[in-house]
Symmetry: C2
Subunit: 149 residues, 2 copies
């Protein structure tokens, strides 16, 4: 598989997702990269680990990046299609691009983001799909809780 920057960035998000799985958490990871490829922040869903329902992977990565004056040119990389909460984050702060591991097991607001000028790169990554499939099969209640269903 060609090692594009997007693939290397996704690997960071996948590392976070795997760490979440190892902690019995929701295995979704994300990272925020600057336009020049600098890693600004990375994180994973922390609902279980911190008892914090506001810590989705994307919001955790955004938080880890600290205060930024502008998000122009930044890329949010996430293992899973962003839910409405995380899609709203991307739109409000003007994050320029979202690289998504997969949108097979869950499809959030990435089409809406595309309609509002955010560049969407959907990688259809088999490891991301396998991580979520395994998790949803094993812990369906936790997954439904995490997306408010």
């Amino acid at each position: 598989m060609e090692q594009t920057p997007e693939r290397a960035w996704l690997a960071t998000a996948v590392e976070e997702a795997r760490a979440g799985l190892a902690e019995s958490g929701v295995p979704i990871g994300a990272a925020l990269y600057a336009a020049d490829g600098t890693l600004l922040g990375r994180g994973r869903n922390r609902r279980v680990q911190d008892g914090d329902p506001s810590a989705h992977a994307e919001t955790a990565a955004f938080r880890a990046a600290g205060r930024q004056r502008s998000y122009r040119g930044t890329t949010m990389v996430t293992t899973l299609s962003p839910c409405w909460y995380c899609s709203g984050l991307v739109r409000q702060f003007g994050i320029s691009r979202v690289v998504i591991g997969e949108a097979v097991t869950f499809s959030g607001g990435h089409g809406w983001l595309a309609d509002h000028g955010v560049r969407i790169v959907l990688l259809d990554d088999p490891e991301c799909v396998a991580l979520m499939r395994g998790f949803v099969a094993e812990r369906p209640e936790l997954w439904r809780e995490d997306i408010g269903e």
Copy 2:
């Protein structure tokens, strides 16, 4: 002024906003109430206080409420029209109603939420307007940072 439940709930959010102002923070407050009127969580924007750009008032109140199995019947009360990030939170988790202090100084996603079945109560509260007008006039750069402009 009639003391409806919405007005009493807004008072909690206004207390949070005032506390944020006293801490030199962004003066926006919020609270999440259960269907029976129980306060589940309250919070305020903590960008300045914690250096945390992910802590908007609504997400802070949501976080303070901890893990919940369902948000059916809950009301998010906020001093200001929710931005896209906070509107996304409301939509994703199925929060039933949003009570808004004002949408004069900033208008976020409350129309979009109404289109998606969320009940919106806009109170047009003069104190909420005055809090934001004073803040935006005094600290325009901080306000633009908080909404990613």
